[in-house]
Symmetry: D2
Subunit: 472 residues, 4 copies
Amino acid sequence: MNVGHNCGLFGVCGSPSASRPVYMGLYALQHRGQESAGIITSDGTCFHGYKALGLVVECFDEDTLAGLTGHLAVGHNRYSTTGSTTSSNIQPLVVDIRGVPVAIAHNGNLVNARELRTGMEKQGSIFQSTMDSEVVLHLMARAGTEDIPDMIEKALHSIRGAYCLLLLTPDSVIAVRDPLGFRPLCYGHTGRDLFFSSETCGLDVVGAAYQREIMPGEMVIARDGKVTSKIIAPSERRAYCVFELIYFSRPDSVVFGVSVDAVRKALGRRLAREYPASADLVISIPDSSNAAALGYSMESGIQLELGLIRNHYVGRTFIYPTKELRDNRVRIKFNPVRELVRGKRVVVVDDSIVRGTTSKKLMQMLRGCGVKEIHLRISSPPITFPCFYGIDTPDRDELIAANCSVEEIRQYLEVDSLGYLSVEGLLGSTGLPPEDFCVACFTGDYPVKFTQAPTKLALESKRSRPRAGAKP
Amino acid sequence: MNVGHNCGLFGVCGSPSASRPVYMGLYALQHRGQESAGIITSDGTCFHGYKALGLVVECFDEDTLAGLTGHLAVGHNRYSTTGSTTSSNIQPLVVDIRGVPVAIAHNGNLVNARELRTGMEKQGSIFQSTMDSEVVLHLMARAGTEDIPDMIEKALHSIRGAYCLLLLTPDSVIAVRDPLGFRPLCYGHTGRDLFFSSETCGLDVVGAAYQREIMPGEMVIARDGKVTSKIIAPSERRAYCVFELIYFSRPDSVVFGVSVDAVRKALGRRLAREYPASADLVISIPDSSNAAALGYSMESGIQLELGLIRNHYVGRTFIYPTKELRDNRVRIKFNPVRELVRGKRVVVVDDSIVRGTTSKKLMQMLRGCGVKEIHLRISSPPITFPCFYGIDTPDRDELIAANCSVEEIRQYLEVDSLGYLSVEGLLGSTGLPPEDFCVACFTGDYPVKFTQAPTKLALESKRSRPRAGAKP
Amino acid sequence: MNVGHNCGLFGVCGSPSASRPVYMGLYALQHRGQESAGIITSDGTCFHGYKALGLVVECFDEDTLAGLTGHLAVGHNRYSTTGSTTSSNIQPLVVDIRGVPVAIAHNGNLVNARELRTGMEKQGSIFQSTMDSEVVLHLMARAGTEDIPDMIEKALHSIRGAYCLLLLTPDSVIAVRDPLGFRPLCYGHTGRDLFFSSETCGLDVVGAAYQREIMPGEMVIARDGKVTSKIIAPSERRAYCVFELIYFSRPDSVVFGVSVDAVRKALGRRLAREYPASADLVISIPDSSNAAALGYSMESGIQLELGLIRNHYVGRTFIYPTKELRDNRVRIKFNPVRELVRGKRVVVVDDSIVRGTTSKKLMQMLRGCGVKEIHLRISSPPITFPCFYGIDTPDRDELIAANCSVEEIRQYLEVDSLGYLSVEGLLGSTGLPPEDFCVACFTGDYPVKFTQAPTKLALESKRSRPRAGAKP
Amino acid sequence: MNVGHNCGLFGVCGSPSASRPVYMGLYALQHRGQESAGIITSDGTCFHGYKALGLVVECFDEDTLAGLTGHLAVGHNRYSTTGSTTSSNIQPLVVDIRGVPVAIAHNGNLVNARELRTGMEKQGSIFQSTMDSEVVLHLMARAGTEDIPDMIEKALHSIRGAYCLLLLTPDSVIAVRDPLGFRPLCYGHTGRDLFFSSETCGLDVVGAAYQREIMPGEMVIARDGKVTSKIIAPSERRAYCVFELIYFSRPDSVVFGVSVDAVRKALGRRLAREYPASADLVISIPDSSNAAALGYSMESGIQLELGLIRNHYVGRTFIYPTKELRDNRVRIKFNPVRELVRGKRVVVVDDSIVRGTTSKKLMQMLRGCGVKEIHLRISSPPITFPCFYGIDTPDRDELIAANCSVEEIRQYLEVDSLGYLSVEGLLGSTGLPPEDFCVACFTGDYPVKFTQAPTKLALESKRSRPRAGAKP
């Protein structure tokens, strides 16, 4: 759990008040990014927008939504991967290109953004943010054409990395997915209105019927109720982010064409076969590991119990009133059902271990309730490499599995046994061809090459950007 | 689900910054009331306080907590049962009694508050709020004594109804529970610091060891690290609110001496015996029915599945952007896992049905995903009478089970079968003597009598109270 | 300047949206109190209200005003004289008396409030604020009558001190002035709507024609467009606060029947005769001393110049960014016109000196600009006693003139000459009988006696009241 | 009065917490722009900044100032001349130029910004705001050099119009003034700290000694406590904005080397000679016409009186509660001293008339108080042309004097006589060579030519920019 997060995209073409379904869609995609939210609309001529730090329900009120008029809109939930957390880095980004307003919302990470930016700066370009997405706009402005789809196609020929993009122009919404298809992006419709969403749960909440995923390398243009498509960057390969299935996406979504809930139960079943345990009950770290724990229980025949209760009221503004609590945030979020676990042999199923610190606190908390044996089972392989394609993982030296053996991790966590799902077990549970996934975080085999390591703060310049605040 | 809510109480005696553990405790008790929160502290001489509308994490920030100095504190989470939702009705209530500041926090409902208030008003007393709790303070002020425990004892002799009270004086925290023990209240300690909490989950979050429940009719005084106790209102009877076990309390709490999680699983098992079903899978309405659904699955052998995903980001400030969504809030909160339930015979376990409108929307949503058969099972009996002891139930004419037979409800909900747990089944699952519970909402047998029906808005006067707001 | 402040009252009877003219009136009376503002309205049945800390324009927005429906309203601007600065002490105060809502707004100070309160507390009364005004409401509740004007009349028989009161009942606005008439209160009308205001500038801003002052000891009831009057506390004496003419009231107001601007110019003229100076120019401390400086210039023939420029943008939220500036706030507010005063002999006219610290900083600032001679002239006598009738003066030991001779003050201020207007000169300039004024702050001859010194914080209890805050 | 406003600039080099004196300086320059405020600091490496809509005291609090660390800072008060009022148009503007952060604050208006921008957009440049100042940064980025002073010098060779600029680089503050010197900009020091300010009143408030004005065409670089200067755009001509002396600048400032107070009194004296009147008293429209009214009184021998009282509490958030008041805002701001003016022949001195609507309301208000004769005297010539150099004047068709003769204006205002100061009288009162001023608003003789009329909204694109808001 807490591997990191990425971003959520939602776009609408056709609804009379397009900001409203975008609000709904971003709300359904909230789990993909809780740091900021933004919506930009077009009424055919003018753009209207609002962006703020915080959850969707915190950022927007009735007056703000009402002010975002127009039948076209794109929205973005963000968890920063590049660029610092300041309001100038909230997406969607809006600029003028030759007098035409264009907005862009991006999920992913561009591995050659830094060198492209440096080159354009030398030629006199000025950047307003530290986000890699701004590079796309500068490439578009320099494409030597007035046609926006042409600009996009030319710009993306220079770009390498992971990207799902939603662009807004005065009269269209344009969706693009990178050639390898790292991140998901789909569309659906209700009659003649079109909706783009990172996951299908966003379509469900607005009552739209799922049509299909945007294909890797495809550009889809929605304008005047019509959809046109063009493959602008063909590729033989696929590199679906397997972590979307393990952790990011909601279990009620269909992602890369498969049910997330079904894959997670399959991971749990496979884990039970790879690492069985002799135990009295199976518990989950709610809610992200619920499906895998259920799968483990089904396969092993060990009873599932609701051994940890999660407090969902914790938010960004929670104050950790004492140093002890700042050090041990686990206690704020989870509380064991003491009567249930005391004296028992417990299988604990979690989706992943990153640094190991949170897992250690959780295991200590369970021990403190008198659990007799803890058999920790992880429904993914050890994370040994950082992600450069949009997930906020720490550097290698902070990844426990990059620095310790499984036995060392077991000792550090003070559990009786520890089992990680194998890479083969993982890929074999997805129902898709194993070679279609990116598993670089487990193997170091990065599908898009880079010359210099594109660290997550690669584009961070040496200034903090000013914040702009509207007084109440 | 959504039967209503009551209030949460938390008190501290001894901690150097008592406001901080109260903040933690109220956060853990947030499920008991989300409308407002307040903390009053005493530094031995002066009181300091802050109260606001909203969740605990919304009401308090670091500066506010830091300003609430003192080693004694009481806090309150509120869901209004009497008195309108205005800042003058946020608890704890603070007054001067003969020059001594006293704060009071109350969970419950006093059935004779209205007549007591009218009588005192005729004698020249002025009331500042519309809350029944203020009557207790006026009775104390008129008790003809300077000793606060004496005042409390004398005041409570006139009071009838359900109450757990936490009072703060300059040098003590005093806890009182009504003679029948409707609502829970317990205490615990960490070394020499004492903590009072509505449920044990509040003690867990501050790391305190559970000592015991306050006994019905008991007054417990915490002062200078010492606890003294006196039975001030002895009674043979008990009238524990059974809904605390069905719905209100957190499953990780021990309430009335029993594990809430264990009772709920027992309710689900009993329900499976009383109303078996021929089905492919069991699903819960998360999170309140999770344990009962698990119990049903265990007893029936039908596989539990995670068929509904709940979005926890919805908050007080969610905007329902369209009329359709205002009418159907279920879609915002829950989304089915379509691939899982399509074409299946499903047992749906819920904790209760109040008006029936939300249940109907949920059943329609499941049908819309292609569920083949729905067998709805309720882990409590039909609610046929309103509660006058602190739960915000609607009037009888809005309670569906007070006006329709089970078969009529089944038809209204358009489900294939419907089964409610029997009262005997309910009481037999608690592990406590059946006669110790109040089941008036199922039977109309009210354990505390009243002459005129004490409607929930009984004390609402004909004015709106002014709001006081501090500008930013 | 900065003697202190008191409060502003404004009431409306008849206007369809009475909160709007009250907003205007309070805005015009803002100079009488900048700490908090409140408006309570009655729609004939219900009260609606809003109170907050801050200036009128900061406290109210369009939505808030729109929510304050009703054709009757009272409003209050406050500068605390008793009671601490917390939201529970913001006026108007609203309570239920025998089920009838009553609001009270008070300008003045009651000298026997403390003993009355203690007596009622012993009989079981509970107080919600630390304001002396609350005593009036308790006396009303105990008056043994159901008729509110009767209650008021009976209550005021026990009260001693300075008070202008505006009371709101569901169907009337009632104005009362104490028997000696310390503070001003007048009324006017626009057709059939009635307006009460502390000063006539409040009537001007709503376009109302001035009718007359409420007479000392009079109660005026406005109901259904009719005005009824009764003298409830007759007295031979008058005790008009002379500081209303010297400093408090706006120069465009008529107060106690005389033009404030005319009186202030007369004070300046008289001062020029009592303390002539040989100088090049006369300057004022803007804006409170402008009229007196003009009078001095007229009488002496010495040219008035605009030697100090005042920055009006300073507000409650100004941050004094350095310790030096916190110590010397004069520089933030005033800047000399260096080119004008350099090398000149300057008469500086100020309205009063309280502690002397601000005057000293001002004189130093002028010296720093190269002024050759400073002849300081004060358009009031030395303040040697505190006020107990509603003005926020410091204790005697902080009043420089209570502890130093005029020559000592001159040396402390490092000015070349210093002249204070005499008491006779002051009273002779008002155009009213000298014996009709209270000049206790200059002479110690208090017109209303008290047994124990009613210090300004007499009623301050030993608690801080909780603040109530509505989250945005 | 209310001719319009421009902007205020303040910069600091050397103070350990440079944001604090900038806060003070902007506060002293608040009269130059009340719409937004921004401060950017440099700690030698990183930039820190905060910008918001509102007054300086509203925009900044203690925490915000404390976060703006560094010994170099520039600040800006804005009244929009180009670009809409949105947070993306708040200055100072910050960008990266070749990886180096640069901030710019601008007072003035560039007449060829639009054509420069269009040209650069065609070459692929992207603009983030609609402000003309952004053009300067793009020209700098394209200057083909790495040295920032070189960039500035090259960029300004393309620029025509009025500009005072303050630029911040990681290690310096750079001030530039256009070749004709339209707007004022000066510097001063306290020991080794340097301060730049639009007017000397900004130096006064931080206790800095005035050194000199930046010369027209000069660039002054402050770095490491040293000042270097270079004339980068020499010019024979001068074009000082005469309205700085008539209205904009504070009377306690020295601007273009002359005392504003002295010039204004001279304008009033000259006006009395050009347009004498037979009257009982002279009154000013406070505060902007105070000095001119005093001059008129001195020269004419007619007594000055304080006939209008101004309410300074009105702010941006004032609600005009009725339509009548929205139409007549004069009554909110000014109230006549009725007793003083009734039945009198009054000379009213005002600084200017723009549209004439406010003047008409004022004259009506005075008439309504029973003034016998009104002799309106304007201390500047009729405004017949719009300003293109940074003052927010309306278009010609809204300027009353561009469309009506003086006699027609007199009739429209319903005054007994009307006199405007002559251009010769104006220029002859300044004490500077008449040819050194820009008087285009009176004569249409624009000192900097333009091909197409550079309307004030020239650069306004067809989008509204998204607002960024930080949640509380």
